[in-house]
Amino acid sequence: MDRPKATPLVALSVALALCAATAVEAEGLPAVDFEVLADARLSVVSGEQSWFDDWLGKLRYGGDRGGEGQGRFRLAELSLMARSDITWDLQAFVHAKFDPEQDKPADLVEAFLHYKPVPTSSVQYEARAGLLFPHISRENIGAAWTSPFTITPSAINSWVGEEIRALALEGKATLRLENQKLSLTAAVFGFNDPAGSLLAIRGWALGDYKTGAFSQVPLAPVPSIQPGGFLEDQPLWVHPVRELDGRPGFYASLDWDYAKRVKLGAFYYDNRGDPETFKHNQYAWDTRFWNFYAEVEAPAGIKIMSQFMTGNTMMGTLYDGMRMVDADFTAGYVMATRKLGPHRISLRRDWFDVDDNTFVSQDNNNEVGTAWTLAFNAKVGKKANLIAEFLHVDSNRPAREGIWRDAEQDQTQLQVSYRQRF
């Protein structure tokens, strides 16, 4: 496939690897440290086909075309992470991944440099540059951007894994006071113009798949994006990590930590996409959103975590002052989690919603849904975890009627994941 715009990313990752390999010896620092994460997954799921099978199912795995439940045993992920200390203050990080859903044999998840000199006052400065996840997810804090709480992240962070990635230059200042920490982060970025496509055309989903920088993800053949449809130029796939309009976007966040007991934060993202740019078979989407979070250490060892995201995405030309696609999206979750010795149990409630503001009769992107997730993460070895998860999702998406299904669908999924790190 022809991907001229991807070259800077390749160049960047190669440069990172080279820096890492050469600059290291001089300082006597350890050379490159490698870490591997393998995830073997047993899943049993009812209901519609997954969106990965060109359908509108909400989960990573789904039933068959007739809606019959399916059981599977697969390698869900094989991630390779490399860290290298170029100097005492500068670290290179590369995360590459294989999984069966990915359309490349191996792809890059992140590749960036992290500069963090020792603080000389109560304000510490640091910077990251490269392909990276903005710090939106409060769940994906484990190795290889996994969640230690559940197998499947919330709808919000599932989407972050699917469509949000930035080739960014990010600066951060952290003020440390007695028992308090206040951080301000700001970044300019590119290569995320198609972000928003999945939320509008597919809607929200719940899955632990993270899209590689060079990979495409599929879209269901709903009538609006079929030949003769309202958005017929939109192919049946999205390549989220692309620069199309040459306009940089930005994000910024403010985070507050009080004695590690209360954490609050607000994050704003605007890819400043030009909704009328169409290049390499992809639209630039003008996507803007807020993400807020709160984490509280509650009594009895329980931690309450919550995120709320609200935003809008627009694409296409103006007709009568209306964009071809103009959709508001909102999602939230509340999770209660508790450690049980070395193990952990988590219960989460998800809500998600898309409000289509234009041309609903030709292209209905409305959606509303909820989900319950219960997971038990057992530490079974020094670097091994066995996680069992129950997930039930209910959603109403009128676009399903365009592919001869009821708008209202629900799915129940049981998964067991064996995560081993090396």
Binding site: P30, D85, W88, D89, P117, V118, P119, T120, A143, A259
Partner: protein, 213 residues
């Protein structure tokens, strides 16, 4: 150093000076024992025998933690920072009495820092956010630290009157508490002090098991 050794020898040999043991007990306003409280003794008279300085002090890096959490030393002490972990630590302080950065590559590496100014030196590690410790550099000739029971036994004190200064990482703001004019007689005694601590304590947490970035 030689002088100190000599002094130590004299101190041990000098039977003419009576020495006393003093037990100090520190509790918080709720009556709970306070561990990791530093007690330093300012004599209100001229010591006839110089007090031997502790030969060395150590702040270890072990299991992604500093140990001890609070280290009391006298002005002029050289503290070594041995690394018992297989990975590196980047220890720093930007506290007024001593600003420094120490790069400890790997296991068994040790570096030293000389503390010539009195005050509180908060330590951090630039690589491991959870690591936290304090070095309390005292201008007084005698320093000690309470154990888990909030008590410490200070031995071989020269009888006389002392001001006992108390410091703790979680002291509520205000002047450091002092037990004024405690008289120490040859038969020894126990003193207790009460201090006000902040409700939120600064603790050094163990490292998080999962750390992505």
């Amino acid at each position: 150093m030689k002088f100190r050794m000599l002094a130590l020898v004299f101190g041990l040999m000098g039977p003419q000076v009576a020495a006393a043991d003093l037990a100090v007990e520190i509790r918080d306003s709720g009556g709970q024992p306070v561990p990791n409280a530093v007690v330093s003794f300012a004599p209100k008279f001229t010591l006839t025998q110089p007090v031997p300085a502790s030969a060395s002090a150590e702040m270890r890096q072990e299991g992604t933690m500093f140990s001890p959490f609070v280290l009391p030393v006298q002005v002029g002490t050289t503290v070594s920072f041995p690394n018992f972990d297989e990975f590196r630590h980047q220890v720093y302080s930007f506290s007024k009495p001593k600003r420094f950065e120490l790069r400890l590559y790997g296991q068994d590496e040790s570096k030293t820092i000389h503390f010539e100014n009195s005050g509180v030196v908060a330590l951090g590690c630039n690589i491991h956010d959870n690591m936290l410790a304090y070095i309390y550099v005292s201008e007084h000739p005698i320093v000690a630290k309470t154990g888990e029971d909030g008590k410490v036994l200070v031995q071989s004190l020269e009888p006389g009157e002392y001001d006992i200064h108390i410091w703790h990482p979680d002291l509520a703001s205000g002047a450091d508490p002092i037990l004024k004019s405690v008289s120490v007689s040859a038969d020894g005694r126990t003193v207790s002090g009460q201090i006000n601590l902040r409700s939120i304590r600064s603790i050094q947490q163990p490292p998080a098991e999962d750390d992505y970035n």
